[in-house]
Symmetry: C2
Subunit: 402 residues, 2 copies
């Protein structure tokens, strides 16, 4: 008997017809003799609709009550899906967060799942499908909590871990993880197998197939994932531990993000603590700093610090830097027409020349590199925004991903 957790995201359950379609997918899995726990998101648009209701009262809505409000979205999907399963003669039952219970700790809207009671559901799935809500749980004090946007992925991974399931399948509205954005680069190819690290780099770079923290948890407990489409029968992408993957290619995918801007502080006094002094006020203002590059300056007493932030945060960032009297620098330059392009691949470290090949490729296209940042499995460059698609296409080709 194989025990599976199947997770269906918001678009997969976005209409009644889709919920009925999902019921059929579950029915097939059940007919194969699997024991099934289903994790569902709120119907597409529902969570935003509920947030809009709360924010028309105040943007500072009581966090406990916001969790009570938002958790109703998945409750609705649970009931509808369980009803749709019953309708096609499949035993099924919804289990709400407090009925399981899904125990969480931590703050409202940002809690973590720490445990679930497995006995009742383990008994039930011998004869029927258990449908449970993603994104939520209940605290030790009996309050409803939520675990952050996209948290249904995290619920699915937690179920896989706590129930010790044989697989964790994430059904979504795309066929899997792609070597780059298939909407913009038609030669993008679906990746059959990918490591957790690569998946994390790709998803943090804009391939929003799965929520990053859920992938992290899966990596931590070595839970194999499978991302697949609700709407086609195609094979999806399997996400494993690196050692389970036979790398034939140095680069797995090319990611990009156009929503960037770049700030450079020129001639910053080069002494300990200066970077901390720069970034502390940005952190307080919840501005997320992405790449940070520091170079020694020509006079060897000062340094230039470049970093990237989301475009929307640029004005606020410049303002915070200007009123920050704890740092001394000669000037600020900034550019809000930049993009970040990255190649990702666990095979990169062991393949010489990847870096050179990337730079050569971009040079061939006459694309100027404004900044570079590297990690073990990723190499990112900042370039002018207008060159983004050209760069992605070129890199996709020269790393044999087409």
């Amino acid at each position: 008997m194989t025990k599976k957790v199947l997770k269906f995201g918001g678009t997969s359950v976005g209409t009644i017809e889709r919920i009925q379609h999902v019921a059929k997918i579950i029915g097939k899995e059940r007919d194969l003799g699997n024991e099934i726990i289903v994790v569902v998101s709120a119907m597409a648009g529902k969570t935003n609709e509920l947030i809009k209701l709360s924010s028309s009262i105040t943007n500072n809505f009581n966090k406990r009550e916001l969790d009570v409000l938002l958790s109703s979205g998945e409750q609705v999907t649970c009931a509808l899906l369980a009803g749709a399963l019953n309708q096609i003669k499949i035993d099924a039952k919804s289990w709400l967060n407090w009925q399981i219970p899904i125990l969480t700790e931590g703050d409202h809207s940002n809690a973590r799942i720490i445990n679930m009671n497995i006995n009742n559901i383990n008994n039930y799935i011998k004869k029927g499908v258990a449908v449970i809500p993603g994104f939520q749980g209940v605290s030790k004090s009996g309050d409803i909590t939520t675990i952050g946007r996209g948290g249904s992925d995290a619920t699915a991974v937690a179920v896989a871990k706590i129930f010790d399931t044989d697989s964790c399948e994430i059904y979504t509205d795309v066929d899997g993880v792609f070597s780059t954005d298939p909407k913009k680069i038609p030669v993008a190819k679906k990746i059959d197998k990918i490591s957790y690290d690569e998946m994390l780099e790709l998803s943090s770079l804009g391939a929003k197939v799965m929520q990053s923290s859920a992938v992290q948890t899966a990596m931590m407990y070595d839970i194999p994932l499978e991302v697949k489409s609700t709407f086609t029968d195609r094979k999806g992408t399997k996400i494993f531990n690196q050692e389970n993957i036979d790398y034939t290619k140095s680069v797995t995918g090319v990611a990009y993000s156009k929503d960037e801007s770049k700030v450079t502080l020129i001639g910053v006094e080069d002494k300990p603590g200066v970077a901390a002094n720069i970034f502390e006020p940005l952190n307080k203002a919840q501005i997320n700093v992405d790449m940070v590059i520091q170079n020694i300056s020509s006079d060897q007493k000062t340094t230039d610090i470049t970093f990237t932030i989301k475009r929307d945060d640029l004005l606020k960032t410049i303002e915070l830097l200007k009123i920050n009297n704890r740092i001394k620098y000669k000037s600020i330059s900034h550019n809000d027409k930049v993009a970040k392009v990255s190649i990702v691949g666990a095979g990169m470290v062991s393949t010489p020349g990847v870096t050179y090949k990337m730079f050569r490729g971009l040079a061939d296209e006459k694309i100027n590199i404004l900044a570079i940042s590297t990690s073990e499995i990723k190499l990112s460059v900042i370039i002018d925004e207008e060159n983004t698609l050209n760069a992605v296409k070129k890199l996709h080709t020269i790393f044999d991903l087409d």
Copy 2:
């Protein structure tokens, strides 16, 4: 310290603006030093929207899951109202059915509230407002249950009883209970005080201000009710035990219902069990029979039986009568263009001549009476539908209700 339960219906919480308005009403009551438990309905239209979702899967939706689905409506209102109260600096907390818990017994969609845990809420309302969902509870086995449409009134009355509150105030979209339908008969007057019995007769006759079974429960436990408007500051209608009311008028109100049809079985064999044989198949088909009038026939061996049903049920009823081989009769006549007009008043029994006065008044208007039925506090006649408003106006005037 006065302990109050305030119930707000669907239209009272139908928009965010109205929820904020309700928060202000609660704030005023709290400022007066009252301890407050609030019972809320789903936002107007919400329950129907959820039912529509389920019925687009099947009209025979699993009843357990339907309860899970529908209960989310009041959950949303609870969270929004608690958040709106917090926003105007009033301590408030939502308590869901399982958090209290509201214990029920009986079938899904038709459960009854049998108990609530009072300790936590009694402690809490010393410092804040408890907001709880109407219409729902949780069974002994831990499943969500609902208690039937309009069940938020029943929840409010149950809270009043179990928490032993000093008052039970039903906030709605009308000023109170009227002597007849104010939308159609402009001289209709709001009734300041009314007995439970009269309220029951009026509400079962179409004055849909409060759910009947909730009034019955209030009567059984002698819980005084007050029906008042969410949208005006006017005094509402108090509903008491009969002995607390000083009757100056024999008739309290005139009710009518136009959605009626009348069926007469002529020449029915007059022997024991015949009425049961007639109505058993109707009961099985869930056709609600309202008035039943039986007269001896001219030949003294047979009888004529007349009854009224909802117009929508007429065809089905005729069909069931025709295939019913357990009764013998000469012929069936029916009329689907009839209305029921009733005068209601606890003072009627002790006031001679009310019956005559009613018949005289209708005769003055040249309105023919097709059937008559009486109870201790009600006198109903069936008349041609086209005469309904004329009849109501006339009766309203001659019984000094204008």
